[in-house]
């Protein structure tokens, strides 16, 4: 018989984030599983690229998920069982991601899957999850097809689609800056769909595209493209590049003084990117998928305080919230349905609304039944060089738009759900 022990249940692999612990000590760490009631824990598998180019956002997502798990366990677990988070590194590689998904499913018998920041890995995991009838929440991959033409009955997504991002900013940019737009677009599917969505909106508004520079992923020198963009004399330059490419492009725009002549704007911006920029390069109009500094949002202060405790005093980013919301969604829907059966839960998540203590933002936030996409608010505003109240307050929110106001209708997403018989 197991001796009941008291204490927070932390899965053996929840230690994975504790980077401060020496690796060897972790290797030697035994299988620690202190069930409050000796129950078999409910397992959530989380796959994210903890190493490689997306390591920073991925680690933030894991941190958010861990916070959700520790809160759940403090409140008695999920369906009366302790919750265990098993974190695996996809290393930004699809083969590894699929491997880890199978491991979590076949060996660890997880009840839920979360991941991945990389859209390609996320879609590959979704496939494995569907084969095994497991509820999967995509925490951080933005490619439209996940809740578009490749949508699956068992797959939900908390972060935005590219279409939602472009719809959120188009009208505002048009009003604010004018009708001549020039794009700087990363040359792969993500960039192409984003640009196409913006072009459609620009056409509808009656604007003109002065040109588009397709930049290879991983470009470090944007000068050739910036020269062309400036020569086209647009009203605004729209940057669609992401991550390190965004950092390099913005830096060069500022060094060349282009921002003094043409306003800079774009769709999605992340706190992780702004923090990686020198202060003078924190410029432009953007949208955030979630932002920490919001007035009068219930439960938000608590979330920020909890993340600060585990994040060296830094505030949560959108990625923290994605991880948090993914785990909480599963807990909430499982509690409501009193089951872990994936088909029942997936049905129950259709039009499922997130309560205030999870959504941490204004507007109604819910998973749309037709394509399983979360309708989360878009935070539109401008980057700023230095935080006002906090060094991490690098974004001035000017407007918060409800998700279903910017999401294209389900019929336009190409999503057709096939439910198991």
């Amino acid at each position: 018989m197991e001796v009941p022990r008291i204490g927070a249940v932390i899965g053996r692999r929840a230690v994975i984030r504790t980077v401060a612990t020496a690796g060897l000590a972790q290797l030697a760490a035994p299988f620690i599983l202190r069930g409050a009631r000796g129950d078999t824990p409910l397992r959530i598998g989380m796959i994210d690229p903890l190493t490689g180019a997306y390591a920073a956002p991925a680690r933030n997502e894991v941190m958010g998920a861990e916070l959700a798990v520790s809160r759940l366990n403090a409140a008695g677990g999920m369906l009366g069982r302790p919750v265990e988070l098993l974190v695996e590194d996809s290393a930004n590689d699809v083969g590894t991601g699929v491997q880890k998904a199978r491991k979590l499913v076949e060996r660890d018998h997880v009840d839920f899957l979360i991941g991945d920041v990389n859209s390609a890995v996320a879609q590959a995991i979704a496939q494995v999850a569907m084969e095994n009838k497991i509820l999967h929440i995509v925490s951080g991959g933005h490619t439209d097809t996940i809740t578009g033409k490749d949508c699956k009955w068992n797959v939900y997504r908390v972060c935005n689609t590219t279409r939602m991002e472009s719809n959120a900013v188009s009208d505002i940019l048009f009003k604010k800056y004018g009708k001549k737009w020039h794009f700087i677009t990363p040359d792969y599917t993500f960039g192409h769909t984003l640009q196409a969505a913006l072009e459609a909106n620009l056409k509808r508004l009656g604007g003109i595209e002065t040109g588009a520079e397709l930049t290879p992923l991983g470009t470090t020198d944007f000068s050739a493209y910036l020269i062309k963009a400036r020569a086209a004399n647009p009203d605004v330059i729209i940057l669609l590049v992401q991550g390190q490419d965004m950092v390099n492009c913005l830096k060069q725009i500022v060094q060349f003084g282009i921002d003094k002549e043409v306003p800079i704007a774009g769709t999605q911006q992340e706190l992780e990117s702004l923090e990686g920029l020198p202060s003078e390069a924190r410029i432009g109009s953007w949208m955030f998928e979630w932002y920490w500094n919001q007035p009068n949002v219930p439960h938000l202060a608590e979330f920020i305080a909890d993340i600060r405790k585990v994040n060296k005093g830094r505030v949560p980013t959108a990625r923290h919230w994605f991880g948090f919301a993914s785990v909480m969604t599963m807990a909430l829907v499982a509690a409501q349905e009193k089951t872990t059966d994936a088909v029942k839960l997936a049905h129950a998540l259709s039009d499922f609304e997130l309560p205030p203590e999870v959504k941490l933002q204004p507007n109604k936030v819910y998973y749309r039944a037709g394509d399983h996409q979360l309708m989360l608010s878009a935070f539109i505003g401008e980057a700023r060089a230095h935080g006002k109240d906090d060094p991490d307050d690098l974004f001035a929110v000017q407007q918060v738009v409800a998700g279903d106001a910017v999401a294209p209708p389900v019929a336009d997403t190409g999503c057709v759900l096939h439910w198991p018989a």
């Binding site: 980077v19 903890l50 190493t51 490689g52 180019a53 390591a55 920073a56 991925a58 680690r59 040359d187 520079e213 397709l214 930049t215 290879p216 991983g218 470009t219 470090t220 020198d221 000068s223 050739a224 493209y225 910036l226 020269i227 062309k228 400036r230 390190q244 950092v247 390099n248 830096k251 500022v254 060094q255 060349f256 003084g257 282009i258 992780e272 990117s273 923090e275 990686g276 920029l277 020198p278 202060s279 003078e280 390069a281």
Partner: protein, 289 residues
């Protein structure tokens, strides 16, 4: 169009100068020790991060010198403890060793400085364009070229006129004879390794100012220097110099017409050179082939 092309040639030269700096370090080590240093990108990143940490104490200019020196010291330690044992063995082993070291470097960098990219602050006057019409040439880019040129000139002067330099060059051609002449080959190799790693660290500080810092940036910067060496010819430092500049210009010009091929063009150039001249542009026949 002409203006754009001219600009890209200039810009290619600037990038090329950077590749040269990195490739020369790699080339020095390869020539004298027969080691392809896969961890060169790791040393580069380390140099950049060290400069980031030192800047608050030493200022930018202090960090520019001290960070590469510290990197070089670490390089010598690693050479003495690990790499030295592999001299004279099948090159397979030094490849694997430095390959493994590159993993450790990336992981250690992330462990110490975090996964989040870090901005590097450069002196404000370097961050400005040279003139409104030449807005795309910033002082920082010129500065990179100047630093690269000074470093390369000093290196070649050192190799040409100093006693150590003459020995390094002689050792590249015939290590056995140099050894029988009473030269301490072990010390010579350690010094040479330090020199190569110093150049890697210096490249890292310069790259940090241009690109910012990221634990994964090393591997992306390593390949162009490889190609610079192959194009220029293994065993020839002037060859590496020419090779680096050539691939810089080639990728700069290609970016105007066909951006997605701007990396592939380096490899095409390499293939063409190897077809026409298997030993590279300035490589010695018989050396390392």
């Amino acid at each position: 169009m002409i203006q754009l092309l001219l600009f890209n040639v200039t810009n290619g030269l600037i990038i090329g100068a950077f590749y040269v700096l990195m490739a020369l370090g790699l080339s020095l080590i390869l020539n004298l020790s027969g080691v392809i240093n896969f961890a060169h990108g790791g040393f580069l990143v380390l140099g950049g991060y060290l400069a980031y940490t030192l800047t608050p104490f030493l200022g930018y200019w202090g960090a520019l010198i001290v960070a590469p020196l510290l990197t070089a010291v670490l390089g010598v330690v690693i050479e003495q403890v690990l790499i030295r044992r592999l001299y004279g063995r099948d090159p397979l082993y030094s490849l694997l060793m430095t390959f493994g070291l590159a993993f450790i470097f990336e992981d250690a960098t992330r462990y110490v400085w975090g996964a989040q990219g870090l901005p590097v602050t450069i002196p404000a006057f370097l961050g400005r364009p040279v003139s409104p019409s030449l807005f795309f040439i910033t002082y920082y880019r010129l500065f990179m070229v100047v630093v690269a040129a000074v470093a390369v000139t000093l290196l070649f002067l050192l190799l040409r006129y100093s006693r150590v330099g003459v020995r390094i060059r002689a050792g590249t051609l015939d290590l056995e004879t140099v050894s029988t002449l009473g030269v301490n080959v072990g010390g010579l190799r350690a010094l040479n390794f330090a020199l190569g790693i110093f150049l890697a660290g210096l490249s890292g500080v310069l790259a940090g100012g241009q690109l910012g810092l990221d634990p994964t940036m090393g591997s992306g910067l390593l390949m162009p220097s490889f190609i610079a060496i192959i194009v220029g010819g293994v065993g020839s430092l002037p060859g590496t110099l020419v090779g680096g500049l050539l691939i810089g210009i080639a990728s700069g010009v290609t970016a105007v017409f066909f951006p997605s091929a701007s990396e592939a063009v380096m490899y095409v150039l390499m293939a063409l050179v190897l077809l026409a001249r298997p030993r590279g542009l300035m490589g010695e026949e018989g050396l390392m082939t």
